[in-house]
C-alpha cells in the first residue's frame, strides 16, 4: 500500500509542478487534467466514491473542458518564464509550516471511519441543508455575473 501511495503522491506532485512550469498551454491542460484525475483516485482510495465521482465529473470533466475552450479561444501560446524569489519563499514557508502541522496533527491516526453514503446524506440533511439556499444564491449571482460580463463585451464589439 505504501508503494501505491508513493506512486500516487509522486504523480500528483509531478503533474502539479508541470501544470505550473510548462509553457505550452495545451500541455499545461494535460498535466492539470491528470492531476485532477489522480486526486479523484485519492478520494476513491480513502473510501469516498461519491466524492471521487464528483471530482471526475466536475473537475476532470467540466473544468478541464472549460479550460480547453478558453485555450482554443485565446489561442495556443507560449508563456514567457519568470522567476520570483518571493513566491518561492512564500511557497517554501507554507510547505515547511504544513509539514510541521501535518506531523503535529497527523502523527496519531485512529482507524478509519467507515462512512456510508447514507451517513453522508443524513449529516447533510441534519446540518447543511439550509446552507444550500445561500450557496444557490451565490451560484446564481456568479453565473449572472459571468453572463453579464460576456454579453456586455459582445455588445461593445458589435
Amino acid at each position: 500500500m505504501l508503494l501505491y501511495f508513493t506512486i500516487l503522491f509522486l504523480v500528483v506532485i509531478a503533474t502539479a509542478i508541470a501544470a505550473i512550469e510548462l509553457t505550452n498551454f495545451i500541455w499545461v491542460l494535460v498535466a492539470f487534467a491528470t492531476l485532477l484525475t489522480e486526486i479523484a483516485l485519492f478520494y476513491f482510495s480513502l473510501g469516498f466514491p461519491l466524492l471521487g465521482a464528483f471530482q471526475l465529473a466536475i473537475y476532470a470533466g467540466g473544468v478541464a473542458i472549460l479550460v480547453l475552450f478558453a485555450i482554443l479561444t485565446i489561442g495556443e501560446r507560449e508563456e514567457e518564464q519568470r522567476e520570483s524569489k518571493l513566491a518561492a519563499g512564500v511557497a517554501l514557508a507554507t510547505f515547511v509550516t504544513g509539514v510541521i502541522a501535518s506531523i503535529w496533527i497527523g502523527i496519531q491516526t485512529k482507524p478509519y471511519l467507515e462512512i456510508s453514503l447514507k451517513e453522508i446524506a443524513q449529516v447533510f440533511m441534519d446540518k447543511y441543508a439550509l446552507l444550500v439556499i445561500p450557496l444557490s444564491f451565490t451560484a446564481v449571482g456568479i453565473i449572472y455575473g459571468a453572463y453579464y460580463l460576456l454579453t456586455k463585451k459582445l455588445q461593445k464589439e458589435e
Binding site: 500500500m1 500528483v12 501544470a19 499545461v28 469516498f48 511557497a91 449529516v123 447543511y128 453565473i143 459571468a146
Partner: protein, 103 residues
C-alpha cells in the same frame, strides 16, 4: 485499492504540497490562465485535507468538500470569462497592465 489505516500524515503532506505549489504558481506566473489553474490546485489541496480529516472525524469534511468543488467550478467559469475578455483587450500578459485601481 483502499486505504484503511495509513497515517493521516501522508494525506496532509499531499494537501500541503499542493497548496504550496499552487501558491508558488499564483504569485510567480504572469498569465491569468496559470493563476486560475494555481487557484484550482490550492482548492484541490484543501479538499484532499478535508477528505483526510473526514476519515477521522466523520462525514462533515466530505460534505464541505462537495460544496467547495461546486463553488470552485463556478469560479473557474467566471475566471475564464474574464480571461477571454481581458486577453482580447490587453493581450496574453495583461495582469501587469491592469492598474486602473491603483492609487
Amino acid at each position: 485499492m483502499k486505504f484503511t489505516h495509513e497515517p493521516m500524515l501522508w494525506f496532509l503532506l499531499v494537501a500541503f504540497s499542493l497548496v504550496a505549489i499552487g501558491l508558488y504558481g499564483l504569485l510567480s506566473r504572469k498569465s491569468l490562465l496559470k493563476m486560475i489553474i494555481s487557484t484550482e490546485i490550492i482548492v484541490n489541496g484543501a479538499n484532499v485535507g478535508l477528505a483526510a480529516f473526514a476519515t477521522q472525524h466523520g462525514a462533515d469534511g466530505v460534505i464541505i468538500a462537495f460544496f467547495a468543488i461546486a463553488i470552485a467550478a463556478l469560479e473557474v467559469a467566471v475566471g475564464l470569462t474574464l480571461l477571454i475578455i481581458l486577453v482580447r483587450k490587453y493581450g496574453i500578459s495583461f495582469p501587469e497592465k491592469l492598474n486602473n485601481l491603483r492609487w
